[in-house]
């Protein structure tokens, strides 16, 4: 058993933490872009596309993220575990974002679509100018919840060789054999990030409630 100083532990875990954090912007960006696109496509009611996207969503809701990670890593034969992890987590979470966006679009009254069409706007423009601006605030809490799950899922990526914080923890444990400080620190790391996101979500929800109290077609 080798003693590792607390400072050294922090430094090693810190490097791993940075790797973990570096994955997040990519996964969030890809899943957001993908989810918005697929959510819009699914709302356009084209039968075949609709079915395909629904199938994709059901499959991702049923399969554990670990399996997706392994499948992507071993099938795509990507050199880099980091890239595989980003691709896998993005594919996985896009499905959930798709559902969130689709739900948001469905909550807009039909009249908004009709009014948009009546001023000769094409469907894409109706989405861009009228629908999306109305839903993006309202789906923020659900998106935040989804990305909290994403943050927690990044704890799994050491299985495809990413040298993130859990990998660093294992390295230290092989030296010290003492799990407590390591996993406590790792736990705190994730807890802080997730709680931050949770607070942002609560804030967003408060502002949505103010914005959403707009009566439609009612008299004052």
């Amino acid at each position: 058993m080798i003693h590792v100083s607390f400072a050294a532990m922090i430094r090693m875990l810190g490097e791993g933490a940075l790797q973990t954090l570096s994955l997040l912007p990519f996964c969030i960006a890809f899943s957001l872009a993908g989810g918005v696109l697929l959510g819009i496509l699914q709302s356009s009611k084209l039968p075949v596309l609709n079915q395909l996207i629904s199938l994709y969503v059901v499959v991702m809701r049923g399969i554990p993220p670990l399996i997706i990670l392994f499948l992507v890593f071993f099938s795509a034969n990507l050199e880099s575990g980091v890239v595989s992890a980003i691709v896998a987590l993005s594919i996985y979470h896009t499905a959930y974002v798709t559902e969130i966006v689709r739900g948001g679009i469905a909550s807009i009254p039909k009249g908004q679509f009709e009014a948009g069409k009546s001023i000769a706007l094409r469907n894409s423009r109706v989405m861009y100018h009228i629908i999306i601006p109305q839903i993006w605030r309202q789906i923020l809490p659900a998106l935040a919840g989804q990305y909290i799950i994403l943050v927690k899922d990044t704890a799994l990526v050491s299985v495809v060789g990413v040298r993130e914080i859990l990998w660093a923890g294992r390295q230290i444990m092989q030296l010290t054999y003492d799990p407590f400080p390591i996993y406590l620190l790792i736990g705190v790391f994730f807890y802080v990030i997730c709680t931050l996101l949770e607070q942002l979500s609560v804030l967003a929800e408060k502002r949505v409630r103010i914005y959403a109290s707009v009566p439609r077609g009612e008299n004052r």
Partner: protein, 245 residues
């Protein structure tokens, strides 16, 4: 040109699931007319006008607007020339009144922003809400919102405006201000098709009035004749009901 055929229904049928709303409907709406359609709910009035700008697609038959067959492919073109005012206003809540009015002209008609805004301002003044241009729909009363919706429609400079029960969702004291605006539009000579229960408006501003039931025009007459000497029994009964209310 006034008097030309504007909208032509020829054997048009439309059903919602099991219910047949329009069956073999044929009629020609002419340019320059203010045509009021009245009738009981479920008669097919709203459906009829919603087919004109392809908000509802027809199932069979032929529907032409200014000679153009209304279809999925032509809907975009038709909607540039036909505007609609909805019962629930359907203003875009996240945009100012001004933006509501200029969205269509800028993005669909490709008009320059300044021109679109200038005409919007003028129209807003004319209907009496010029000071509300930078306000949001939630800050306006129901009557003001509907007037804003009318401006949104007018700013498209359409060849035809469709009104789908424009005052049915308003408190009684605000109905008048909206009807006044509509009367003004009628007097300008714009082509209008108005689905409404407001018989006072029909009397004053309509060129033609149709009583619709079961997906057919039972009776279509110039306004004065319609009210003073309706032919059909059903029309008479309807008029008695609605005028005594």
């Amino acid at each position: 040109m006034k008097g030309d055929v504007l909208v032509e229904f020829d054997g048009v049928s439309k059903r919602f699931g099991e219910t047949v709303v329009l069956e073999n409907f044929s009629y020609q709406f002419r340019e320059g007319n203010t045509h009021v359609i009245c009738g009981r709910s479920g008669a097919g009035k709203s459906t009829l006008i919603r087919c004109i700008n392809y908000i509802e697609p027809i199932d069979s038959g032929s529907l032409r607007f200014e000679g153009l067959e209304v279809s999925k492919q032509t809907a975009h073109e038709v909607r540039k020339r036909v505007a609609m005012v909805f019962q629930q206003f359907n203003l875009f809540p996240h945009l100012t009144i001004l933006k509501n009015a200029t969205l269509g002209p800028i993005h669909a008609l490709k008009k320059p922003k300044r021109g679109a805004e200038a005409s919007a301002f003028e129209l807003l003044q004319r209907v009496g809400i010029g000071d509300k241009a930078r306000s949001y729909p939630a800050q306006l009363s129901g009557g003001q919102q509907q007037r804003a919706a009318i401006v949104r429609a007018l700013n498209m400079n359409p060849d035809l405006i469709l009104f789908d029960e424009p005052t049915s969702a308003l408190d009684p004291e605000m109905i008048g201000e909206v009807l006044d605006v509509m009367k003004g539009i009628a007097h300008e000579g714009r082509s209008m098709i108005v689905v409404t229960h407001e018989m006072g408006f029909a009397r004053e501003a309509a060129d033609l009035v149709s009583f619709m039931e079961d997906g057919r025009f039972i009776e279509t007459k110039p306004a004065e004749q319609f009210f003073n000497s309706p032919e059909h029994e059903t029309t008479q009964r309807f008029l008695r009901q609605i005028l005594s209310a």
